[in-house]
């Protein structure tokens, strides 16, 4: 298991190099002079030159990259073109709200989605299956912003039970995490159901029944664990997407997260922040993929031992 982990961690290194190259190249690939872009449209020639020197853009590319890596590792990501704050601070402030919202949304939607999928898989073709499939189709197709607005209208505006938006205490998590998780739960339910149905037809499930294993145990011990691999893959992907911050949800619920930060940064052409966000999102995905690999190994001994 330790060798497996070490191999996976080592495997990340080339990915991270590619990611950093991309984030590094991002500003340099933009049309026009990055120094002029960063200095702003009203800057004088001298100011642009000053920016160029301060950013090290007058040095050879490989030196620039080395500097970039050194600074990134030290957490120096530059300053926001919009507010002048350090980028690390800007992103740090916005990261936690998105992370908590993601955890809240993933938490409930994974549990409910997987449970729904298993029920549908066990009761294949019966009313439980059909009901859950109607629910999941609705969950996937219902637009999130519309659902969010309806919920705000009902629970905040009419009933005054929950706040309309912003991040103030646990009650403010309920509506956005529910809205965010609906589509995830629906996708998880579909995936779980199809994986479950496939595994339920395997010979070893028949073997379990041949032994006289009670049906509940056939489902959880012999079928469920084997059906988990595609479910884990899907959960990892969803988690990665949500961690990027949902632009729609954060806008509807006035949530101070990464999604809105990205929109604002793009609107203001705040390149240092965009660059840092690219790096962060890529890093998150790499990390989640590692986690998914480790979970595979936990579930499946064949991956762990070979």
């Amino acid at each position: 298991m330790i060798a497996f982990l070490a191999r996976r961690v080592l495997g990340i290194v080339p990915v991270l190099v590619c990611v950093s190259l991309f984030a590094f190249g991002f500003v340099r690939m933009l049309p026009g002079d990055p120094a002029r872009l960063l200095a702003g449209p009203d800057a004088t020639q001298a100011e642009v030159r000053a920016v160029r020197v301060s950013l090290g853009l007058d040095k050879p590319l490989w030196q620039q990259y080395a500097t970039y890596i050194r600074q990134t590792l030290a957490g120096e990501l530059g300053r926001s073109a919009r507010t002048g704050q350090p980028v690390a601070t800007v992103i740090g402030e916005r990261f936690m709200p998105t992370l908590w919202l993601t955890i809240a949304a993933m938490g409930w939607s994974t549990v409910i989605g997987v449970a729904l999928g298993v029920i549908a898989g066990v009761r294949r073709g019966r009313w439980q299956d059909q009901t859950s499939m109607v629910l999941t189709v609705s969950g996937i197709s219902f637009p999130a912003f519309w659902l969010g607005l309806l919920l705000i209208d009902l629970f905040a505006v009419r009933l005054h039970w929950l706040p309309t938006g912003g991040e103030h205490g646990w009650r403010s998590f309920i509506l956005p995490s529910f809205t965010l998780g609906v589509a995830v739960a629906a996708v998880m339910a579909r995936f779980t159901r199809s994986a479950f149905v496939e595994v339920a037809g395997e010979d070893y499930v028949r073997t379990a029944r041949m032994k006289g294993v009670p049906e509940r145990r056939v489902v959880w011990k012999h079928t469920f664990r084997n059906a988990l691999i595609p479910v884990i893959t899907m959960a990892g992907l969803q988690f990665g997407f949500l961690l990027g911050g949902s632009i729609v949800i954060e806008t509807v619920f006035a949530w101070p997260g990464l999604g809105r930060l990205l929109v604002d940064s793009v609107n203001y052409r705040d390149y240092p922040v965009i660059q840092a966000e690219i790096l962060l999102f890529s890093f998150e995905f790499v990390l989640i993929n590692l986690l998914v690999d480790v979970l595979y190994a936990v579930v499946n001994p064949e991956i762990r031992l070979q």
Binding site: A6, L10, D203, R206, R209, K211, V213, H222, V299, P301
Partner: protein
């Protein structure tokens, strides 16, 4: 309906502790089963009667689609989970507490309690029948804990005892292993251990040895027989293999298209079959030794007539194919940085030649390297060293010119007729593809040629517009043969080409291949694990073991007077479809074939073969501990 059985092995239909009563343990009558098909239901088993007495072995034989497996699933009621339904009939079972129960009507929860302690089942597919994520010990202990009420530690002890009972070496260590770490034969032993762990009174075995190699099959059959005597249980044995039936059964039930066509004692069925279908089934079974003393191959009898031997080899001129010291190895990566953990020596210094019009049978068990040899010749696997010559031309280095020559002159027929045709293309398109690729013909001439090829394989030109799913397994394999012929090859590598077919279809396809050889002079490299089929088709035989040829020579010499210990073992393991020559007396041989994977610093010994007779050569150096 049932006839009294006379057991040729001298066993009686009773065992200690059970009165020698005539009352069957299982009495199936009028069983009728259907499966859903679209909006309707298709009846797959009709009005089947079947009795199994205490301590007795009843074999249910039949070809695919005969309903034999479905009948077994119905008795355990695992049928319910497969979508089937019992429409009529009874399956009365005498329980341990001397009451009886109609299994066809019992509620599923009651059946669950019976599965294990009363009725257990072993399935055909050892590779997929064990749960891949659970340890073997836990999979056995689960059944023990459920039905014998033992705690975890005691159940583990019992699991170890069961593994010892099925003769798995180092049982204690195996408990913590996972299924993927065991070979197919070992997995099937684990399955048997699971089935026996609750001391069932009836064991149903559904083709338990079909997926196994012959030597492993012999081991498993003997093991089941020994365990049956030790535990005094009844055995309902489902198989398509008359050789296995002759080895193990007391009584036989022959099924066809969902009905019982004949039943009787095993001696009676083999000696005096009453039904035409049974006779044909028996006639189609290849019997190893039936061509003993004859030098030339001879097709299977058709309509009771023994066809003439065929002499098709052209001794003059260069061989179609010469293989010299062919080596194919696979690196096995492991460890932190993907260092090489060793090499699988799949093909190790293999040399042979095939003359025009000749069939060389390449035999051996799974993992011996026979398929890799075939694949290496066509460069589907990459050989590491060695020379390959086609009609005298060296094609060892794959240039565009030699590749073109190779791809046209050598064709392949694979084992699985279902997987080797593109389901979205018509049969005609698949056959025309090599003709177009090699630019042999153009325009309408291609269609005419496709029809001609289809005629040659006995299908008729109208088949060219059909899709693979409209054809049976035998028909598809004929299409594969037609496709192989399309480029007018001089050699066809047939890799287990008839292994997936029912016996009657198998003999037809073998006869077709031989007829084509007669007509077209094509040579075959006939790769097979089935010694009896090889005896029919091959002029010469090469036996492979652990990547090396251990014996090669004229067919009659190698099969009739085998000189290498491994050849002798292989031949001894082949079941003989004659209950009078039953081989139970042979000792249980638990040896496993060693792994062809070796460390880099530990290469296998290789040496030239030694001549022991005319054109007959044997390895005299040690390979895997055998001479």
């Amino acid at each position: 309906m049932s006839s009294p059985s006379s057991s040729p092995s001298g066993r009686t239909a009773s065992h200690p502790g059970e009165a020698p009563s005539a009352a069957p343990l299982l009495d199936v009558s009028g069983l009728t089963i259907s499966f859903p098909a679209g909006r309707e239901r298709v009846s797959v088993v009709q009005d089947v009667d079947l009795q199994v007495r205490p301590g007795e072995t009843v074999a249910v034989v039949g070809e695919s689609g005969s309903g034999k497996s479905v009948t077994a699933l119905a008795v355990t009621r695992l049928l319910d989970y497969a979508g089937g339904r019992i429409d009529a009939g009874r399956a009365v079972f005498q329980l341990r507490d001397a009451t009886s129960l109609d299994l066809a009507r019992a509620p599923q929860e009651r059946m669950r309690q019976l599965r294990g302690p009363e009725i257990a089942m072993v399935f055909q597919e050892p590779m997929t029948s064990l749960n891949p994520v659970l340890r073997i010990g836990d999979q056995i202990a689960e059944a023990v804990m459920l039905h014998q009420g033992l705690g975890g530690a005691a159940a583990r002890q019992e699991a170890r005892r069961m593994l010892e009972r099925v003769r798995i070496p180092e049982a204690a260590r195996q408990l913590d292993r996972y299924p993927f770490q065991l070979s197919g034969g070992m997995r099937q032993r684990v399955m048997i251990a699971i089935a026996l762990s609750c001391r069932p009174r009836l064991l149903i075995a559904d083709e338990p040895t079909t997926a196994l190699d012959v030597t492993v099959q012999a081991q498993v059959l003997r093991l089941m027989h020994a365990l049956q005597e030790e535990l005094g249980m009844s055995l309902l044995f489902i198989t398509h293999d008359m050789g296995v039936v002759a080895e193990i059964a007391d009584r036989v039930v022959v099924m066809r298209s969902g009905r019982v066509v004949e039943r009787g004692g095993v001696g009676e069925i083999f000696a005096r079959p009453r039904e035409d279908y049974t006779r044909r089934l028996l006639a189609a079974v290849p019997v190893l030794g039936s061509l003993a003393g004859q030098a030339l191959p001879r097709p299977f009898p058709e309509n009771g007539d023994e066809p003439p031997a065929q002499d098709t080899v052209e001794p003059a001129g260069p061989p179609v194919l010469e293989v010299e010291r062919l080596v194919t190895r696979f690196e096995v990566k492991r460890g932190l940085l993907g260092r090489s953990g060793g090499r699988i020596h799949a093909v190790e210094h293999v040399s042979f030649a095939v003359r025009p019009g000749e069939t060389l049978g390449l035999v051996g068990e799974s993992g011996c390297g026979k398929s890799t040899t075939g694949r290496s010749i066509l460069r589907l696997d990459r050989p590491e060293a060695g020379a390959i010559r086609l009609g005298g031309t060296d094609v060892s280095s794959l240039t565009p010119a030699t590749e073109k020559l190779l791809r046209r002159a050598v064709q392949y027929v694979f084992q699985d007729p279902f997987a080797s045709l593109d389901p979205r293309l018509t049969v005609g398109f698949s056959i025309a593809e090599p003709i177009r690729t090699h630019a042999l013909l153009a325009g309408r001439a291609v269609e005419a040629r496709v029809e001609e090829l289809l005629e040659q394989v006995g299908l008729g030109g109208s088949y060219s517009r059909r899709y693979p799913h409209e054809l049976s397994g035998g028909q598809r394999q004929r299409v594969c043969v037609a496709r192989a012929l399309a480029s007018e090859p001089r050699l066809i590598i047939a890799d287990e080409a008839v292994a997936a077919l029912d016996v009657s279809i198998r003999s037809q396809v073998v006869n077709l291949l031989m007829a084509l050889q007669r007509r077209l002079g094509v040579a075959y490299l006939f790769i097979s694990h089935d010694m009896a089929v090889v005896e029919r088709v091959a002029h010469r035989v090469a036996v492979m073991y652990l990547g090396q040829i251990v014996e090669i020579g004229p067919r009659d010499a190698v099969l009739g007077r085998p000189q290498h210990a491994y050849t002798q073992r292989l031949i001894a393991a082949v079941p003989i479809p004659d209950p009078a020559r039953r081989g139970h007396a042979r000792a249980l041989d638990d040896s496993e074939v060693p792994s062809p994977m070796r460390r880099h610093d530990d290469p296998p010994a290789v040496a030239p073969l030694v001549r022991v007779g005319p054109d007959h050569y044997v390895a005299r150096h040690k390979i895997g501990g055998l001479f």
